[in-house]
């Protein structure tokens, strides 16, 4: 019977998905390879002083100072940070700094997600709240982070409640959460408003209240909207944490290293690129971790496949 045939299709589809995923990884690696080849190609054939139109340099210089060879940057990672006795290898220094930044960004992400979902719930529950708050939420993202970061730090330093004392990393986490909450608030609101009318009507015939409707229909229906929002929030939290580290002057994170090593670039050009690569990897790890959430919640994404 056809019913049985229908029931049998999913495993085959899953196998096809696995093949597609491997191919995606392949394309990803190919992209990185192409980037490296492009870099070297431009360095080999590009003019030494870059391309200047008027006063603006539209393409960079190709000197070893501005664009070190890919392999120089790679080998530099394995060498010690400084010539001092017992100095750690550069890669380890980058990993340690990245771990600190990741921790702060994760704290910021959690705060941002909680605040974002809370705002979305309030806006979904009351129409008035949506029209009152949504413009401000959008506006909040136009405030320049650089201007905002020192303020947070100075407000924070005045907070002291009993044994609790405001730490500098908390300012950085707050700024990271400021960037992270936005996609979550907007995505979660879209998601909470996404359920089919027929589902909401069905729940009405069951004469259940807002909470039960939220739990059994709105939140599950929001998952396909929430997952990309959470991934965006993760990337935003990393960017926010790095920028905030720079502008609040927090020691030990990858943001600080970017500034510090850039200062040493004239003597050690390959070194300056290491924390930048570290920051990129950090963003990928953060966004990738959220993909695991997608696997956990995959039953809630079935609607994506059918509709």
């Amino acid at each position: 019977m056809t019913d049985a045939a229908i029931a049998l299709t999913p495993p085959r589809r899953r196998a096809r998905d696995r093949g597609a995923r491997l191919r995606l990884w392949g394309y990803g690696l190919l992209g990185i390879l192409l980037l490296a080849v492009g870099w070297e190609l431009y360095k080999a054939i590009g003019p030494a002083d870059g391309v200047v139109i008027g006063d603006a340099r539209v393409l960079p210089r190709t000197s070893d100072l501005a664009m070190p060879h890919v392999w120089e940057m790679a080998t530099r990672l394995l060498e010690p940070v400084t010539r001092a006795e017992g100095a750690r290898p550069l890669w380890l220094e980058i990993v340690l700094a990245a771990a600190l930044t990741l921790g702060i960004a994760a704290a910021g992400w959690v705060v941002g997600v909680v605040v974002g979902i809370a705002l979305a719930l309030v806006m979904q529950r009351w129409r008035l709240a949506e029209s009152a708050m949504l413009p401000w939420i959008v506006l909040s993202q136009t405030v320049p982070l650089i201007a905002f970061a020192p303020l947070v730090r100075s407000w924070g330093s005045r907070i002291e409640i009993g044994a609790f004392e405001w730490q500098d990393w908390m300012s950085v986490a707050v700024i990271a959460s400021y960037l992270a909450f936005f996609p979550v608030a907007v995505g979660a609101l879209r998601g909470l408003q996404a359920p089919d009318a027929i589902h909401l009507e069905l729940l009405r015939t069951y004469s259940v209240g807002w909470w039960a409707t939220l739990r059994s229909v709105r939140l599950p229906a929001a998952v396909p909207y929430l997952l990309p929002a959470l991934r965006l929030a993760a990337a935003n939290a990393v960017v926010g944490a790095i920028v905030a580290e720079v502008s609040t002057g927090l020691q030990g994170g990858i943001g600080r290293l970017i500034i510090q090593y850039a200062g040493q670039a004239s003597g050690d050009p390959a070194k300056a690129w290491a924390p930048i690569a570290g920051a990129v990897a950090l963003g990928l790890i953060a966004a990738g971790s959220v993909a695991i959430l997608g696997l956990i919640f995959r039953n809630y994404r079935r609607a994506e496949a059918t509709q």
Binding site: D3, A7, E201, Y206, S207, V208, R301, R302, A303, A305
Partner: protein
Amino acid sequence: MTPTSTPISTTITSAVSARGVDKTFSTKQGEVVALSGIDLDVAPGEFISLIGPSGCGKSTLLRIIADLDSPTSGTVEVFGTSAHQARLDQRYGIAFQQAGLLPWRTVAGNIALPLELHGVGPAERAARVDELVALVGLGDFAQKFPDQLSGGMQQRVAIARALAEKPALLLMDEPFGALDEMTREYMQTELLRIAAETGAAVVFVTHSIPEAVYLSDRVVVMSPRPGRIADIVPMRLGRAADRADDLREDGAFFEMITAVREALHGTPVSGPRGVETR
């Protein structure tokens, strides 16, 4: 109050009793009268079909009985209480044209939804779901997700869900409208069996004359602009529960189809557009 706790009385309360129901919608083009002067009684256990062309208000009437819309004037009582109270008391189960299953829940999870929302314990819930899955003939599919089922199977799950709390009234809004003809005939026979087994009264909206004739004890023929009841045609085809597929080739069946068609054509306005005669 549940139906079983009601003391048996000599006067039988109607499953549905509508008196002078009017419904007016305000649109940009002005007032639209969807229903006008509807009087209707549905006896307990009776199978009633509402049939008529598009725009005759048959779905609106069903929604008013379900308390998803309220009448502009007139009253609707369901088992002697107001439609609103009947909804709060879960006196009816409902199925729509689309199955409307939650895609993230399994077949069993979807059927269990109303029980879960009304605080039925896990053990009792599982037992009831097993019964219902068997009733609609989906025993092997309880753990499948809706996207793994055909349209007919999804609709059967929706019917099982509507029956979950043993309602004495089943409201159905063109539940088989999206199914192919063969699945549809199969589902009609299944529905007759299920209605007989549960003893529920059914109010069934359709625009297919053979479907209405095959299923119903009485067919309520409606006419549009304004929506009102043109005629109520009793089906002299024996008890609905005893009907089977061979009835579709019976002479009496065609007589009843003719009777319903004449009732539809007998209306003074433009005629039964949008009514399927297949």
